[in-house]
């Protein structure tokens, strides 16, 4: 579903991703853990063109969506096609990024109606169904500012799902939440994982990674240092830096 080959990314002189090779199979749930500033979020953002890579290749669902050599664009496909592929990659942000001028329902139907040209009624039916799924059908006419952080994040998940994505990216989805609201968001994500959604999750929730992930990837200073099953990573980390990181967070 996702394949990154030798991906490097620099912001000026600062190299944030170094030779990343990563693939995620269909239906797999992969959690990326690691200290702040290790490039986890940047890696995620390279998968839907929120950041462009400096060199390497990125494939989504078998299709090449980014290729650069020394910062030079090698990509042959049109902007339109890139946008179409990226629309199949749902993303949930740390700070929710709901559209504040729209109600919950409008937030969810916006992209299906404007991007996919879905008939409005169909989009509304879909939105209501998704809101039921995240347990917020009674909030459909509220503005986001009236919701708690946990509720906003659940709406953001529903909004991403409305595009019927093949892959869901989660960028520290619970880091901006009050501790007592984390659980409700993780529940929704677990439900998605059970349904077989392909998920790539950057998280500090070790409990979630241990319970839900098929594979855990440890990143530090822009490199993938270690990957394996949750049991391997959490019980028997091989790399020194993984050990010291896990000691601090567990």
């Amino acid at each position: 579903m996702i394949r990154m080959e030798k991906v490097c990314k620099s912001f000026g002189a600062l190299q944030v991703l170094k030779n990343i090779d990563l693939s995620v199979a269909k239906g797999e749930v992969v959690c990326i853990i690691g200290p702040s500033g290790s490039g986890k979020s940047t890696l995620l953002r390279c998968l839907n063109h929120l950041e462009r890579i400096t060199s390497g290749r990125v494939y989504i669902d078998g299709e090449l969506i980014d290729e650069r050599i020394d910062g030079k664009d090698q990509l042959k496909i049109s902007h339109k096609r890139v946008a179409e592929i990226c629309a199949e990659v749902g993303m949930v942000f740390q700070r929710f990024n709901l559209f504040p001028h729209m109600t919950v329902l409008q937030n969810i139907i916006e992209a299906p109606v404007t991007v996919k040209k879905m008939p409005k009624q169909e989009a509304i039916d879909l939105a209501v169904e998704l809101l039921k799924k995240v347990g917020l059908e009674d909030k459909k006419d509220e503005y986001p500012s009236r919701l708690s952080g946990g509720q906003q994040q659940r709406v953001a998940i529903a909004r991403a799902l409305a595009m019927k994505p093949k892959i869901m990216l989660f960028d520290e989805p619970t880091s901006a939440l009050d501790p007592e609201l984390v659980g409700e968001v993780l529940e929704v994500m677990k439900e998605l994982a059970r349904e077989g959604m392909t998920m790539l999750v950057v998280t500090h929730e070790m409990g979630f990674a241990r319970e839900v992930a098929n594979r855990v990837v440890f990143m530090d200073k822009g490199e993938i240092l270690e990957e394996g099953t949750p049991a391997e990573i959490f019980s028997n980390p091989k790399h020194e830096r993984t050990k010291s990181f896990l000691q601090k967070v567990l």
Binding site: N48, H49, L50, A83, E84, C86, A87, E88, V89, G90, M91, F93, R95, N97, L98, F99, P100, H101, M102, E110, A111, T114, V115, K116, Y143, P144, S145, R159, A160, M163
Partner: protein, 217 residues
């Protein structure tokens, strides 16, 4: 000048006021459209478009409005004959072009003040830059636009008095004519009051609008 005479000239003043209002509203309307495109141009990644818009704003903010009015009314026809406009059209053009420059900077600032995460969320949902701008970013800037656009309305309403210099009979010129005809300056008092009434009107309308667009915050 007697009180009766002043009362008798009120209808003429009111006609002048209507002209002033018409000038203000129509000019700001076209100025807004122009300003929106100038603002988007200034935010464009295309350096040439950015520079052209920058130049336009630099030119129209950096020269006196009165000079722009004179230029359009007197100088343009000398440069190129088909560009001859009557006083009304010249007035509208000058005020719209001038307010467009100021509004462009107002709109650009409002757009830039919107959280970057909004554009990212829109892109992540597959929206194009244009869709994201017109569906997500620009609508959110409305509320932040209201106070400075209110200012611009009031400023332009008063600046519109400058077009009396090319012979357009709006409130200012009407007042001056009455004053000349009656050899008395008393008429400036009700005229000033009418300007105040109009600016107050705009103030109230914009306060209402601000409330209306604040519902989601």
């Amino acid at each position: 000048m007697s009180l009766e005479k002043i009362i008798a000239s009120v209808p003429i003043l009111l006609v002048g006021s209507l002209r002033t209002l018409e000038l203000t509203i129509i000019s700001v309307f076209f100025g807004m459209i122009l300003g929106l495109f100038l603002a988007l141009g200034r935010l464009s990644k295309n350096v040439i478009i950015d520079k052209i818009c920058w130049f336009y704003i630099w030119l129209f903010r950096g020269t006196p409005l009165l000079m722009q009015i004179f230029f359009i009314y007197y100088a343009l026809p000398m440069i190129y004959k088909p560009l001859t406009f009557n006083d009304i059209t010249s007035a509208f053009i000058a005020l719209a072009l001038n307010s467009g420059a100021y509004l462009a900077e107002i709109i650009r600032a409002a757009i830039q003040s919107i959280d970057k995460g909004q554009m990212e969320a829109a892109k992540a949902l597959g929206m194009s830059y244009r869709q994201a701008m017109f569906r997500i970013i620009v609508p959110q800037s409305y509320r932040r636009l209201i106070p400075p656009v209110g200012n611009e309305f009031i400023a332009l309403l008063k600046d519109s008095a400058l077009v009396s210099s090319i012979g357009m009979t709006e409130l200012m010129r009407t007042t001056a004519q009455i004053s000349n005809a009656t050899a008395s300056a008393v008429i400036y008092i009700p005229s000033a009051a009418l300007y105040l009434v109009m600016t107050t009107l705009f103030t109230l309308v914009f306060e209402k609008l601000e409330k209306k667009y604040s519902v989601y915050e």
